[in-house]
Amino acid sequence: MNRNSATNTKRGAPDMAKLGETAFDQNDKVSAEFFALSYGALVRQLIDQLPQDEDVNSVNQQLEMIGQRIGARLVEEYSVRSGGPPCKTFTDCAESVTKIGLKMFLNVNATVSAVKDSADTFSIRFHDNPLNIFVELPPEKNMRERLWYSNVLCGVLKGALGLVGYQTDVHFMKDTLRGDPVNEITLRFIGKERETFVVDREGR
């Protein structure tokens, strides 16, 4: 691990994983079990109020929206406390959000790699997911095939990056709850907003 880390680190560039560990260590922390139980209650509530029995995709969408709001709040703390370097390229952003952001807030050890033949798409992989430590997806309503239980994470990444000007498309590709060996999220950068003092969304 150290050797790989050294290999991947450019000369003089900060060790991202180390920054993530330091930022996490400096946090006030709560029980991961409490976090998982709270999230489980949220997902259960969304499922219980489904207007149509089979409309599981609306749960995925709502989880992403909730995550975007959370991400927009967390990025403020990230900016102040993480010690992360400025993001000048898509690669910088992907590495920072993965190795510092996910570690700092969720204690997730994730890897990030560029998708082959693409300059704007990255694959984020992690084994341990603090959101789903008490979860089994039931066969009813095709949950196992259609619910991305931890879709809030996609929203968190999208919301955080959106607040610093990067438009992204983030979605789950693999989920250990579905029997995959690893959790995988694809992060695709759509573009960067030009910095203006007044952002007029309707006029864009």
Binding site: F24, N27, D28, K29, V30, S31, A32, E33, F34, F35, L37, S38, Y39, A41, L42, Q45, L46, Q49, Q61, Q62, M65, I66, Q68, R69, I70, R73, L74, E77, M104, F105, L106, N107, P130, I133, V152
Partner: protein, 184 residues
Amino acid sequence: MSVSESAASFLNLELIILLCDVAKVYKIPVVIDDSLGEVVSARTQLLDSKGFLIGSQITERLLVRESTWSSTPSDVARFVGNNFWTAVFGKKVDSVKVTSNVFHLREKNFRWLQGFSKKSEGSEQISVNDAPFAGDDHSVTRNDVVDFVVGMLKGATFLLYDESTVSVKGSCTADGETHFILTF
């Protein structure tokens, strides 16, 4: 195993917002709380019941690590102020005062309320933009957060006190202090 306190507090705020939205369309009969002589709203009932569930679940997880457990009021209050508070809020409760079997837990600047204005009790609110339920009022007040935490404390104390009921009341003051009173 742990996560950052801020991730958990933002997540729980979102859960509270969701429950407040649900309460608007929920058909729950209003209940007269005999001890207060007050009508308990659907909103308060929902926050209380979901908080109860989470509070009892996390307390059950915490008790797994306790080799022995005796359920005197002092032990329960100490466990809540130390173990429960640390697991849920990332710190021990600021202070505990005891009178007979009434335990007064006080937070000078309660973390889950730091996003709210302190100007007046109950009337200020946090607005939620881009909410999924377009057109609805999405305001959440400090009292909603307190109601949810009261529910959690009821769930915790129910488990800790051998499934006997402990009275739990919560309030927040104009100068930003938050109080939880456990009466055994």
